[in-house]
């Protein structure tokens, strides 16, 4: 039986359909990445799967239990670390994990032992008796992760676990996630970071505006939807002329940066001379040029026409205006 099975899952808020007809299956022992910009529906989906939100359509099972009809059984089987690390600043790290153990119904002695073991595991044993209010962002995330694991759940939900963390803390979280998975825990991970999905996930679903637009292993997605593209910066000449010249050789991609031109080519490195010749004929001098392998952002662009970062920024601006 799969760890997570979702059919036609929907969630409406008034007239707004935040999640529209999501279908996915997560096998046991898998790391499943749910990738999309801010406002795509990732958190809404996670909240439905963790029983915090009722679906308005479709169905889902987690660890073999229906999220609506068997909500309590679902909660007993899952560990959750949500987007906002929900920690009490007045509690110590040790107190928090012990509380979580109590909430999960563990006997007190067992809860204490597991709390101590987990604190050591996430390297918070030295700070375990300090108040959480004094923890750094990375420490808070590690504590949140540890609390989600106290009852050894079969399925772990991580909602943007490394958003806002520095690169070192991010790598630490990644290592923890890999280790958990090696020990058999199924991980459902939402992220807006391409690299995170690429590095960690066995399978990735890309969600945009409440719908899954692509699904597969990172490599298969990139191979299927992404072609290599040439990224170049011009030294002299008109940007418009340069773009026209490149368009003769391949497909121009939406500009990410004002001075950068990106053109998707069919033949990879073999098309570089054609691009250079076209630019030369147009009187354009090139400052830099490189062949870029496809990324999940390319897959996103292919399916939606936008870069994943642009979508996130636009969603953030809309949220601020609202």
């Amino acid at each position: 039986m799969p760890a997570i099975e979702v059919e036609g899952l929907e969630r409406a808020f008034g007239d707004v359909l935040a999640v529209q007809g999501v279908d996915l299956t997560v096998d046991k022992g898998e790391i499943y990445g749910f990738l999309g910009p801010n406002g795509a529906g990732k958190t809404t989906t996670v909240r439905m799967l963790t029983t915090l939100l009722l679906p308005t359509g479709g169905r889902a099972t987690v660890a073999g239990h229906d999220v609506v009809r068997e909500a309590r059984a679902v909660r007993a089987s899952i560990g959750v670390a949500l987007q906002e690390a929900a920690l009490d600043p007045l509690m110590t790290g040790r107190e928090l994990i012990r509380l979580q153990a109590t909430l999960q119904g563990l006997p007190p002695a067992e809860g204490r032992q597991r709390a101590d073991a987990l604190l050591e595991r996430v390297e918070l044993d030295h700070a375990a008796d300090r108040r959480v209010g004094g923890y750094s962002g990375g420490m808070k995330r590690r504590l949140d992760l540890a609390a989600a694991l106290v009852h050894e759940p079969s399925v772990l939900f991580l909602d943007e676990p490394t958003t806002g963390l520095d690169p070192v803390s991010r790598k630490t979280i990644w290592e923890e996630v890999r280790a958990l998975n090696d020990a058999g825990t199924t991980v459902f991970l939402t992220t807006q970071y391409l690299e995170e999905a690429d590095q960690l996930a066995d399978n990735v679903a890309i969600i945009d505006s409440g719908r899954i637009v692509a699904e597969g292993t990172p490599d298969s997605l990139k191979a299927e939807f992404g072609n290599p593209h040439i990224q170049l910066q011009i030294a002299e000449g008109s940007l418009a002329d340069a773009e026209r010249a490149c368009a003769e050789v391949g497909r121009l991609l939406p500009p990410k940066d004002g001075r950068l031109i990106e053109v998707e080519v069919e033949n990879g490195a073999a098309d570089i001379p054609r691009v250079v010749r076209a630019l030369d004929d147009a009187g354009i001098a090139v400052e830099s040029l490189e062949l870029v392998r496809p990324t999940l952002d390319d897959v996103f662009v292919a399916k939606t026409g936008y870069h994943i970062e642009d979508e996130s920024e636009a969603a953030d601006e809309e949220a601020v205006e609202a």
Binding site: T50, T51, V80, A85, L99, T102, L103, G105, E110
Partner: protein, 267 residues
């Protein structure tokens, strides 16, 4: 990760629920113990009201209709119940704050039943209400209010604990309904109105027109009369059971509303 090789022994549901309630009460206690001065507002407000009302309206006992010449004795149960209302409403504000911070999600995503989560919040408020109640009670005795007898004192404090639970249910209902601390004034003023639209300032026979009508139908009138009886007369079952019934009814209604909202958070 290699999970700690710790055996899992099944815990009976009732023990797990009790442990959860206890853990939530311990967490609530943290604010009192770990935040300097956190207990002060909850004690200050009813104490100021007690001293202020006594200083301002103390001469009312000269009116015929008062069964006691001591306004301190008359008003002390009102101030204790006001403290209970304030403490319970504050529990609602804390729940709203916890909701805004995401802490409530941690509780809701656990297998703990919803009623257990609510019970933890409510019982913590009842326990916390003892602090201002003891303070005001002590001040009143020092100012000359007669000791109400052990039975009168027990009944008064029991009413206070139950009133705090009622207020916590009201506050929790509003917190989960509006999901925001901005509902705090409604939590506080609702409880203030409930406690004061009663024979709080004067016996029911001396209340003016509309207030008398409201006091006659307000269930908290019976709670005040029950809490007050030892201070102004002697304790009788006839004066006690209406207060108990009123509290039971309020707990049923407001507790039911709060539980419903807690179950509806996923909608």
């Amino acid at each position: 990760m290699e999970a700690a090789a710790v055996p899992t022994v099944a815990v009976p549901a009732w023990r797990a629920n009790l442990a959860t309630i206890g853990a939530m009460m311990t967490r609530a206690r943290n604010e009192l113990v770990r935040v300097p001065g956190a207990a002060i507002p909850g004690v200050l407000a009813p104490t100021i009201f007690f001293l202020g009302l006594n200083g301002v309206f103390g001469a009312l006992t000269q009116l015929s209709g008062f069964s006691t010449g001591s306004y301190e004795a008359f008003i002390v149960p009102v101030s204790m119940l006001q403290g209970a209302g304030f403490t319970g409403a504050a529990a609602g504000v804390n729940l709203a704050r916890d909701y805004e911070s995401g802490w409530v999600d941690r509780l809701l995503v656990s297998p703990a039943p919803r009623w257990v989560i609510l019970a933890g919040t409510v019982l913590a408020a009842s326990a916390r209400a003892m602090i201002p109640a003891v303070f005001v009670f002590t001040i009143a005795l020092l100012l000359g209010a007669g000791f109400p007898g052990v039975d009168g004192m027990v009944i008064c404090f029991a009413m206070v604990a139950a009133m705090a639970a009622v207020a916590a249910c009201w506050g929790s209902f509003l917190a989960l309904r509006f999901k925001s601390q901005s509902a705090a004034p409604l939590m506080q003023s609702g409880m203030m109105a409930l406690v004061l639209l009663t024979p709080a300032y004067a016996p029911i026979a001396l209340l003016q027109g509309w207030l008398r009508t409201v006091a006659e139908v307000n269930p908290v009138t019976h709670v005040i009369e029950a809490a007050r009886q030892g201070f102004v007369a002697s304790v009788t079952w006839a004066d006690t059971w209406p207060g108990l019934l009123a509290l039971a009814g309020l707990l049923l209604v407001l507790g039911g509303l709060a539980l419903r909202e807690m179950r509806r958070t996923a909608q």
